[in-house]
Amino acid sequence: MSDKSQRIGEIIAAHAHEEGPLLPILHDIQHEFGCVDAETEEMLAKGLNLTRADIHGVVSFYHDYTPEADPRPVVQICRAEACKANGVEQLMGAAEAAAGGRVKLSTVYCLGLCSAGPAARTGDDLHIRLDEKAITKLIENV
């Protein structure tokens, strides 16, 4: 048994007592391995006595689970209405230029900081009242 399948077995066991444990399990796997890939889906199907289609259906539905790990650091930028009202779209050019190929920019719809946008998130750190200079600095330092 490989290390990975053993670890996945442990994660499944840790959630065995929960009702509807699949999302908590997938969160743990995404967190630990950076993705939920095809191999993992098969292991999960076996471990949870579901079909691989069941697992893949869930994994592919949610934005938080990715099929491949991306080694780049991520900056999540909110581009929902309230941040648009505060001009996030005008910052995207500078953000993309600063990110280049090194940083992954991902769009989120709302970080709940809607009176102080444009807002962004890196890991568990939040950033508000961003202007061109601040977002460039944020992306360069991530």
């Binding site: 929960e18 009702e19 509807g20 444990p21 699949l22 999302l23 908590p24 997938l26 969160h27 259906g57 869930v58 539905f61 949610y62 934005h63 938080d64 689970y65 909110c78 929902a80 209405e81 309230a82 941040c83 648009k84 009202a85 505060n86 001009g87 989120v108 719809y109 709302c110 970080l111 709940g112 900081l113 809607c114 009176s115 102080a116 946008g117 807002a119 998130r121 568990d124 750190d125 939040l126 950033h127 508000i128 009242r129």
Partner: protein, 515 residues
Amino acid sequence: MTLVKISDDALALAGGADKLAKAFEDKGCEVHRTSSWGMQWLEPMVEIDGKGFGPATLDDVDAILDGSSDKGIGVIEEHPFIARQQRLTFARAGKTRPTSIDDYEDTGGWQAWKRVRTMEPAAVIEEVLASGLRGRGGAGFPTGIKWKTVAEAKSDRKYIVVNADEGDSGTFADRMLMEGDPYQLIEGMAIAAYAVGAQTAYIYTRSEYPHAIAKMEEAIRRAEPIIAPLHMEVRMGAGAYVCGEETSLLNSLEGKRGEVRAKPPLPALEGFMGKPTVVNNVLTIAAIPHILAEGGAEEYARLGVDRSKGTMPIQLAGNIKHGGLFEVAFGLPLGELVNEIGGGTFTGKPVKAVQVGGPLGAYIHPDQFDLVFGYEEFAAADALIGHAGITVFDESVDMGEMARFAMEFCAAESCGKCTPCRIGAVRGVEVIDRIRTGGRQRDILELRPQMHNTTKDKGREAAEEVGLLTDLCETMKFGSLCALGGFTPYPVMSALKHWPQDFFGESEVPAEMAD
């Protein structure tokens, strides 16, 4: 030693509250990390002896301590933004340390829970009915009736599910409540569970709210002996907006794709795992401890207008000068909320539009600012209050672009279950693009002689595309299973109605649409 209060709400943290707190500690002050007052334009705010200073930076520390700071706003409770509110659900905001169970108890916490346990469950539900409380998630369904349905259902297991999947842009009250007063939510859940006979309670929240999750989990651990034998758990979503819809949320909680279920069966009868389930919004449940305190229901029912009873935590967001949380009884005119309380736009330019109720809410023109804040009043104006988020836009906004975004958002977040939403939203983006570029030419298929319904000599003009968009919106409105597809037409059609020049260009507005 000087006692300094600085919030540890996510917005204050984003503004640098941790470093600020450290700086005051280094100066020998005692620092309490409290919840946020909700005056978000002042965050991070520093409170000393009831007086506020903000937005504070590290450079302000010395000046605040020696009394020479020019960032003072005076006594916080006397500030007009706070003094004009009627805070029931957010009564503790700014005053207590969120996860301190002592602070909670000292400010009236657990009193309703103690009182409720001397009552019959049916009597608890009667009081909720009498308060007139309606679901704060947007639909406005009477909470007491929902509880009664679950209480009367026969089942070996029942559930409470708190919908904390606050995905609407312009809303943050659920987040503030979970981060600022988690025990109140726990108390409300315990009362709900007692009233309907549930054994387990879940809070389903968003992965975008890590601070709220951490605070709730800590509070649940500490409150365990008080609420036993009720089992309580926080569950984290995975970035799907549609999971804020109750049936989709239940599927997600069960570990399935977050697809919407057809109703009936109602979740109250066949909800989580097919068992009777109360699904209530955070703000609904958080209002419960106040209502179930002695005489609380009557006080609640006295506030508000018409059938919109009690208070609503309104969230002022977007391009606004004084953004934040404003809890007040229903019945204030929208214009007063935006211009007087919110102070107009942050940029100082005239307000062009406000969107009430998140991405699915209508865009409202300043001409309609006499609209009174209430469920029925908004419905009559083809708008909705939703979760009571108000997003303000100044004149630089392109409403055609916002209408397009509404469709684009629906397409990105559709669960895919029903056709009007899944396909309609994609087609909606295309039609709006065609309107904005002046219609389109006939394609090769339409030019075939067999297609005898299409005119061959000219393309489809922008005005004709409007007919198509109107039809599409009708189909989405009446043919979708849930509010995502069903309400996306609100922002689209209201933008088209009030700002046609943003779709056609100033000179090209069709005569029948110009007003």
